[in-house]
Symmetry: C2
Subunit: 195 residues, 2 copies
Amino acid sequence: MEKLQQKILTEGIALSNTVLKVDRFLNHQIDPHLMKEIGEEFANRFKNEKLTKIVTLESSGIAPAVMTGLILDVPVIFARKKKSLTLTEGLITSKVYSYTKQETNDISISSKFLNKDDRVLIIDDFLANGQAALALIDIIAKAEAEAVGLGIVIEKAFQDGGELLRKKGYRVESLARIKSLENNTIQFINEEEKI
Amino acid sequence: MEKLQQKILTEGIALSNTVLKVDRFLNHQIDPHLMKEIGEEFANRFKNEKLTKIVTLESSGIAPAVMTGLILDVPVIFARKKKSLTLTEGLITSKVYSYTKQETNDISISSKFLNKDDRVLIIDDFLANGQAALALIDIIAKAEAEAVGLGIVIEKAFQDGGELLRKKGYRVESLARIKSLENNTIQFINEEEKI
């Protein structure tokens, strides 16, 4: 997605060889128009999949997921990282190990919102090692629903999450695929190099 | 907002005299079309305020805030409850005391996204005792920006946050104002009773 790549180049910052800061339009400040275009792009790529639900993870996945859900006319569920006071019984939970934070956290979705007839699109802001995506897939499987594919805003293609998920047979659509962040330079994988 | 009130009546659950569960369309599962209509309503109410930014708090405020920002053509910033790895320097922080959880938490916004020329609309899913709203107002004041008003999806009008903020002179626009949740019955304040 050309506009997203331009935005990453002009407003993103390669903080290290593995960390890309995009807090100017995605992770802290949000550009609503870009989110709408991202939603249109995901909706277009998955429009023939007969989706019934979109699942994301709080917080940065919510804006692109809601824009996609608006166009595809399906509800969006955001998995919670923390247990809510008003959301206690009937939770489906999975564990996410964060390499960057070196800790394991539970994420949960209320079982009443997913069932065996659901065809689910997972949307998230980043794909790195795939741990969050695998936990969402695990929750969807526990609900006996089907994870139809993943819509990722930014894939760090130099980490192994994308390969891992594609090898397992999941359709992964990433709107920007980062080849490298070395030397504080953001490099993308060109379309020709696409897996 | 009639449609929102109907949604609360049909899909909301009064869990106790103070807790309203709206996880079917706002707090966990999100209805994107309703969020769009909420965004249109906020945009319409604040369209003459020359807003430059919208500020909300992760996670449930993000969807209505982004829809409002899309229509008003302004960026949305979500205050973070947890410090991010890629968001460390230049934070403006304030404390929120949660009566329900009985704990104090920091919320933060990066100082680079707010400045003295900003006219800011605060959007949040709930207004109860006003602690989160006051913390956001405090952050906006520390940035020398102006908090122009508050757009609240659901105000628990039987708690004192709304009165507190209005007495301080803030314009508070709540799309649904709950009078009471007693006896597991959701009652709204009618328009005639509006402050």
